[in-house]
């Protein structure tokens, strides 16, 4: 289970440590706005594509629209 982070400062600290940002929304949503440097892995593809696109030795931060 992933650990939760609630504050953008925590996200920025993780980014400073080389974290990989992953947006799990659809492609259209991602194309409009995404965190700088984030890649798009929609939820339905995350299990199949994560290992190909992400470095397992670096932290990973997943996010979507909001907490709703």
């Amino acid at each position: 289970m992933p650990s939760e982070v609630h504050h953008r400062h925590e996200v920025q600290a993780l980014m400073d440590r080389g974290a990989q940002l992953v947006e799990v929304l659809g492609a259209e949503e991602f194309a409009e706005d995404h965190l700088p440097g984030a890649i798009n892995l929609p939820l339905r593809k995350i299990e199949t594509d994560a290992r190909q696109q992400l470095d397992p030795s670096r932290p990973v931060v997943v996010y979507c629209w909001d907490s709703a």
Binding site: W65, D66, S67, A68
Partner: protein, 69 residues
């Protein structure tokens, strides 16, 4: 609601969101009771891509009280 039933239109007596049909007291955008484009808080936030305001933030003026499910 079945396909044979007609979605009720927004009237003074029964105001509904023109997007999702939920009943409400007034339009969440302009706060007027008689608005031809009546929209509920939730649909408005989705449309302009804002999250629901969380009470823990202590924001004053949460519009949720206007929504009736």
């Amino acid at each position: 609601m079945t396909s044979t039933e007609q979605r009720p239109t927004s009237t003074v007596e029964r105001r509904i969101c023109t997007r999702c049909g939920v009943e409400l007291e007034c339009c969440a955008f302009c706060e007027r009771e008689e608005c031809a484009e009546t929209i509920c808080y939730r649909c408005l936030r989705i449309q302009v891509k804002q999250s629901r305001v969380r009470l823990t933030e202590g924001w004053q003026g949460d519009d949720d009280s206007r929504i009736r499910s």
